[in-house]
C-alpha cells in the first residue's frame, strides 16, 4: 500500500528531514549547553573552545537541510 507518492511525499520528506535534524540538534545542544555553562562558571577563559563544541551537533541539522534541498530539487524537476 502506498501512503504517499509524487511531489506531496517529497515535500513531506523534505520537511521531516529538517524537522528531525532540528529536534536532534536541539536535544544535543541542550545537554552540551548546560554542561558548557557549568564549565564557564569555573573557567570563563575556555569560552571559545566551548562554542566550537556547541557547533558540533549542528551537523545533524545541516545534513537534514541538505537532504531537504536535494528533495525539493527533485520535486521541482
Amino acid at each position: 500500500m502506498v501512503l504517499f507518492e509524487g511531489t506531496g511525499a517529497l515535500a513531506i520528506a523534505a520537511g521531516l528531514a529538517v524537522a528531525g535534524g532540528a529536534i536532534g540538534t536541539a536535544w544535543a545542544q541542550a545537554s552540551i549547553g548546560s554542561s558548557i555553562m557549568g564549565v564557564l562558571a569555573e573557567k570563563p577563559e575556555q569560552a571559545f573552545k566551548l562554542i566550537v563544541y556547541m557547533a558540533l551537533p549542528e551537523l545533524i541539522l545541516l545534513l537534514g537541510f541538505v537532504v531537504s534541498f536535494l528533495l525539493i530539487g527533485k520535486m521541482e524537476a
Binding site: 571559545f48 573552545k49 562554542i51 566550537v52 557547533a55 558540533l56 549542528e58 551537523l59 545541516l62 545534513l63 537541510f65 541538505v66 534541498f69 536535494l70 530539487g73
Partner: protein, 654 residues
Amino acid sequence: MLKPVKMQKLRIMGLKNECPSLISLLHEVGVLHIKHVSSQELEKGSPLPNYDEVSTQLVRMRSIKNSLPAQDDSQIPPYEIHNPLKLASEISIDAELLEISSKKEQLRKKISALESDLLSLSKITSLPIDVSTLADSNLHFFFFEVDEKELAHFHRTLHSHAQKYSCTIAPAQNSPAQNQASKKAPHLIVLVATTNADLPSHVSSARMLNIPKFVGTPLQAYHRLSFELSTLKGELASLDGRLFELSSKYYPICTILEEALSIEADRCKVAMDFGNTNDLFFLEGWCPKSKFNALRDEISQKFSKKVFVQPLHDHEMPPTLLSNPSVAAPFQFLTEFLSTPNAHEFDPTLITLFTIPILYGLIVADAGYAIISMIFSLLLMRMSSKGNLLYEISRIWLYSSVFAFIFGVAFDEYMGFTHAHLLELLTGSHGSLYAPALSRIHDIQLLLLITIIIGAIHIGLGFFLGFLIELGHNKKHAVAKLCWLAAEIGGIFAVAGFMFGAFGPLAGPAGAALMLIGMLGIAVFEGPIYLFEVPSIASNIMSYLRIAAVGVGGLILAEVINELALPHADFSTPVGIFVFAFSLGFYMMLHFAMCALSMFEAFIHGARLNVVEFYGKFYKGDGFCFAPFSVKRTFTYPAQGENSPKRMKQENEL
C-alpha cells in the same frame, strides 16, 4: 615559521651572593623561561631576604596611591630608581592620609544627617511659631501634612482623641513646580500641641512628619542648619584640597615606586624556583637557541667565574614559542588560544591564515555582507584593545571579509540580490554585467560536490602533514599516516566510480583496491582497532557540506528579508516619506542582524572545520607557552648597569 622556535635548555649555577645580581640581569634580558628545580640533593629555594620588606612597601605604596585622587598616568615621566625601598620608606604621609580619611568620613556622616534634617525642616518653614516658647513637660508636639480637603476630617479626629489640643496651620512649602507636577489639592502643615502622646496612632487622614528637635521658629532653625551645612562642606572641600596637594606631590612617585617594587617583588619570588646548597644556587630553564650564546657571554662577562651557564641535552618537552609574520598574528593567537602546539610539532598558523578566511568566505559569499562585516570588524577593533580576544577575532573577520567579497561577486550575491536586480532597483536599468560562476540555490548539487572536494583536499592535506611531522620522529606512524591518506583517496575513487560512474570503469575497482591497501597498512602499523576509525573519514568529509548548508541558509534568509521588508519609495506625501524612512531603517536593521549572524556562524563553522576535522589528522596541541622571566616597564628605567638607556632622570630629582 612552520615550526616553533628551537629552544635550548640550560642550567645556571653560581655563588649564592651573586644570585640577586643574576636575577636582575635575567629579568632585564628577558629571554629565559625558568622552570622549578626539584631535586632531593638540593635544598628548596626560598625568596630573596628582602622579600618581606619589599612586599610590605609595595602594599603601602598601593594603599597610599589608592587613597590619593588619581592623576593622568600618561603624564608621569619614567625615572631611574636605584633603591626603591629607601625611597618608599621616606614617604611618610600614611598618618596624615589616615587622619584626613577618618575626618572626611565623619564629615560626610554629619553632612548627610544635616541634609536630611534640612529636608524635613524645609517643609514646615511656613509655620511662624517658636516651639520652644510652648515648652511644657505635659505637652507633646506633632507635625502633620494634611490635604486641604481632609482638614475637617482631621479636626474631627483630633476632637475625638485629644481632650485638649491646639493647632497652628500654615501652607506646605512645596515649590510651585512640585505643586503643578503633583496636580493635587494644596497641602497644609499643622502643628498640634496636645497632652495625648498616642495621638498619631489615631490619625489616618494626615501624614505625620518626622521633624528633628530645634530651637526657635522653623525658619530660624532652617537658616542655622543651612549655615552649619555650608561650614561643614567648606571643611570637606579644604580636606579635598589638601588631598589634591598631596596627590600632586606624591601620586607620581607612588606610581613609579609601585612599578619598581613590583619588579623587585617578582625578582625576590623567582628565587623560590631555584635549588640551593649551602653556598651555591642552581636554576634551570629554556631560552631560544639563537639567543643562548649571547646570554652565556653576557653572564660570563658580568660574573666572571662566579656564575656558570651549562647547556643541557635531555628529552624534557620545552615550552613553545611561535614565530610567524605579523599578518598571521590573529591566527597565531587563535592557535595558542585553542591549544598550544608542542615544541617539536608543526605550527599550523600559516595554513589557517588561508583556510579559515577561505572557508569563511565560501560560507558568507555575499559582497554586501562582506562590506558590512568589514565595517563591523573595524568598529570592534577600535572598541577593543590589542591582544584582546575580540580584537584578534575582529582582525580575522576583517581578513576573511575580503574572501567573502570575492566569492560574493563570483556567486553574484549582494545582500540577497543579484547584481542585475540591484542595478534595476537603484538605476532602473535592465540587463546584467556578467554571468555568475555559480548560483548557490540553483546549482546546489554542484555546490555540494565542490564542498566535498574541498573537504577531501583539506583532510588529505591534514594526513600529509601528519606524515611529514611523524617522518622525523616515528617512521612507523609516518607510514600509517600515508595509509590513512591512501584509504581516503581510494574511498573517494571507489564511491565516485561505483556510485556515480565517474573517472571511467577502472576508477571504482582501483579505488577499492587502494582503500583496502590503506586499511591493511592501518591495521599493521597502528593496530586493527583503528580500522573502526576508517568510516570517520567519510563523516569528516561530509562535515564540509556545512559550507553549502550554512551559506545557502543565509542566502535564503537574506532573500526572505528582501521579499518581505524591502521598502517601497513613495515621496508624494509626508506620510509616504516617513513610512519609507521607517521601513528602510527596519530593513537595514534586519540585514545588519543577518550579517552579524552570518559572521558569527561562518567563523564558528570555519574554525570548527579546521580544529576538529583538519587538526585531528596531525595536531597534538599538548604544548605550553614560552613565558620568559621578563620585566615590563612604563614608569621606570633599569638602573645603570642593567642595560640603562642614555636618557634618564635621576632618582634624586624625585
